[in-house]
Amino acid sequence: MKKELTYMDSVHRDGRIWSLSIMALMLLYPLALCLMFGAAPDGKGLLMGLIATAPMYWAVGVVETFTYIPMLGAGGSYLSFVTGNISNLKLPCALGAMEQMGVKANSEEGEIVSTIAIAVSSIVTTVIIILGVILIVPLTPVLNAPVLAPAFAQILPALFGGLGVVFVSRNYKIAIAPVALMMILFIAVPALNEGTVGIMVPVGVILTLIEARVMYKKGLL
């Protein structure tokens, strides 16, 4: 008799099929361009471009994968690693949703809530980008208006102010040291900025896990 799949097993099965299918489509995109326009990539440009870009982003990609999967859950991970904008949109959206619903990230309810929030966020983002592309001519002067520029330049601080106050106040014993350390590091090291904050996320996560483990073992949590 055929073994019935659990919900989680079916999420992994569907996630694998979707991820590999979209990866294939992404690779077919440049191939289709070659066939349509009868052109080939510039060999030297491709090699040098990849050498300059790929090693860093592959390393970051590997670290991000291991960092974000436990936070996003299975369904959320399969979706987020395809649609992108994880730390600045999908993960905060999932965190806010779990907070709103009062569910734990490592429960089945948490998995479902995270998946729903990330799926809705992905659909809304995709639809808004489609609308933006259709209306690009009339929208460009509006969205690029100098008066709105500061608002869009400060999305991350505006996002992590609200999110941070909830999680830091609820876990202040764990939060004080990593938050203080990261503030000092970002102030003292000029190389740390918007471009490198993604690299500091795994560093923050690992340091906080070590600190939490020590505190837990000493009975401080």
Partner: protein, 245 residues
């Protein structure tokens, strides 16, 4: 066929990929909603969650549209549309495109039209360099989740602390980033504290929303507290920037 960065066929190819991503999202949404119903989760709460997640997404999504507009000056509209709908980000695409164009002896952002060969090279560099997550997640996600479940079985309290610590670690990096330019105040340039003040406004609005919800019993305030704090912080950025720049 004569090449142009805005050729209709490039829009068609981009549209196919974007449609696939959209269908994937709908697929997982329906699957999760069915499971929520099956295990008896409150459908009214789920509906509110959907509205709240959608509201929260609008402002960051509009920022992504602005990124499409920025990249479209050199790459046309179709490619940035696809790239920013599938994995990409403005900073990554700009770096990848610059590295590829520079390697071919050009200069990205100079306004010189790309040839078909250069465009395809840029697409390949962007695609290959960002793919790690897409193939690695299917390889490791199941094993990692089994590890999390087994940790929870061994020690439930530590498992909860572990998850909270991960969230705090991620948030601490972004809070640190908000302070990255504050040292400019020592050079009489106060623009570095703009992000700090914006974050403070957002945090205060979040706290006020929580208090108001508790005092009045109006739960809808809590449901929209995160999008409200995000939009308040963004709105406050306009006068704060005008004041301190």
């Amino acid at each position: 066929m004569e090449f142009s960065v805005n050729h209709p066929l490039i829009f068609l190819l981009s549209g196919i990929l974007v449609a696939a991503v959209l269908v994937q999202s709908v697929w997982f949404l329906v699957k999760a909603l069915r499971r929520a119903k099956a295990i008896g989760m409150d459908s009214t709460k789920i509906k509110k969650l959907i509205v709240s997640a959608a509201t929260f997404t609008v402002a960051p999504a509009v920022a992504i549209v602005i990124s499409v507009m920025t990249l479209s000056k050199d790459l046309g509209v179709a490619l940035p549309w696809m790239r920013l709908s599938v994995v990409g980000s403005l900073s990554y695409e700009t770096i990848a495109a610059s590295n590829a164009v520079n390697a071919m002896g050009g200069s990205f952002g100079s306004g010189v039209a790309l040839t078909a060969s250069q465009f395809i090279t840029v697409v390949l560099v962007m695609t290959i360099s960002i793919m790690v997550g897409i193939w690695l997640v299917p390889l490791v996600a199941k094993k990692m989740q089994k590890g999390m479940i087994s940790m929870e079985k061994r020690d439930k309290k530590w498992s909860e602390i572990f998850t909270s610590a991960m969230f705090i670690g991620m948030i601490s990096a972004f809070v640190g980033y908000v302070f990255c330019n504050v040292s400019t105040v020592f050079k009489a340039d106060f623009s570095g504290i703009i992000p700090v003040l914006v974050m403070a406004v957002s945090a205060v609005v979040m706290l006020a929303a929580g208090l108001l919800s508790k005092k009045t019993g109006w739960r809808f305030i809590n449901e929209y507290a995160l999008p409200i704090s995000l939009l308040s912080g963004m709105a406050a950025a306009i006068p704060i920037t005008a004041w301190l720049s």
